[in-house]
């Protein structure tokens, strides 16, 4: 019997094998010239922890923020951030408390120089605080490592990304981690 991830042509996968898959792609969506991007129902009781990967550029140089939401609305969650930002050949402290959003990343307007990010959400669908560890490569010369803490204990089911002043084009993917 083949052991994942090595499969052979025509092999039949068992439930045990599929249940052993550790990282499961829940969704990918691509967007174009958008101001607001929402991914709904990506967080559920199926998984405790999630990986969100972003890749996009804008029609100008700007920033993008992220908020968690429920099925129907953004919830007014409270976000704290401890971060360092590499800029101008130096690390810069980039902390902030009691924010109404999670700073996601900057972007430029070059399609071949996309802003890239990965965020790990811990327990977003549980009635407890959500920790988000993230790293972002905005573009050449800019890089951020961050610990975000969502103080509010709502059971979130989705995310929204909002671009300030510019539209963004790219993709966002959500994966679930099996314990």
């Amino acid at each position: 019997m083949a052991t994942p991830p090595t499969f052979t042509t025509g092999s039949v996968l068992t439930a045990a094998q599929m249940n052993a898959v550790g990282l499961w792609k829940i969704a990918t969506t691509t967007f174009s010239a958008s101001t607001l991007v929402e991914v709904n129902n990506c967080f559920s009781s199926d998984y405790d922890n999630y990986l969100v990967m972003t890749s996009f550029y804008g029609n100008g140089t700007g920033a993008v923020w992220l908020r968690v939401k429920t099925a129907t609305a953004e919830t007014g969650a409270v976000y704290d951030r401890n971060a360092v930002y590499w800029y101008a050949n130096a690390w810069n402290a980039f902390d902030a408390a009691n924010q109404t959003y999670l700073f996601l990343q900057n972007h430029v307007s070059t399609s071949t120089n996309k802003s890239a990010g990965s965020l790990t959400f811990y327990n977003p669908n549980k009635a407890e605080q959500t920790a988000v560890l993230s790293q972002f490569s905005d573009y050449t010369g800019q890089f951020m490592l961050a610990n975000h803490r969502i103080e509010t204990t709502t059971q979130y089911t989705g995310i929204q990304m909002f671009s300030g002043g510019y539209t963004i084009t790219g993709s966002v993917s959500v994966y679930g981690y099996r314990l």
Binding site: T35, L36, E38, T100, Y101, F103
Partner: protein, 44 residues
């Protein structure tokens, strides 16, 4: 002036919606404090 566009994807149904944001939706975002002035990094 072109209205801001919203892209919505539902992971359960696979439904994808792309449409113009309503004035109320866009105003709600602006009212929440998310404006271009919030670019608080050292980006230039």
């Amino acid at each position: 002036m072109t209205k801001p566009m919203i892209h919505i994807y539902d992971c359960v149904t696979g439904q994808e919606i792309v449409r113009e944001m309503t004035d109320d939706e866009y105003q709600a975002l602006l009212d929440s404090g998310l404006t271009p002035a919030d670019d608080e990094t050292t980006d230039e």
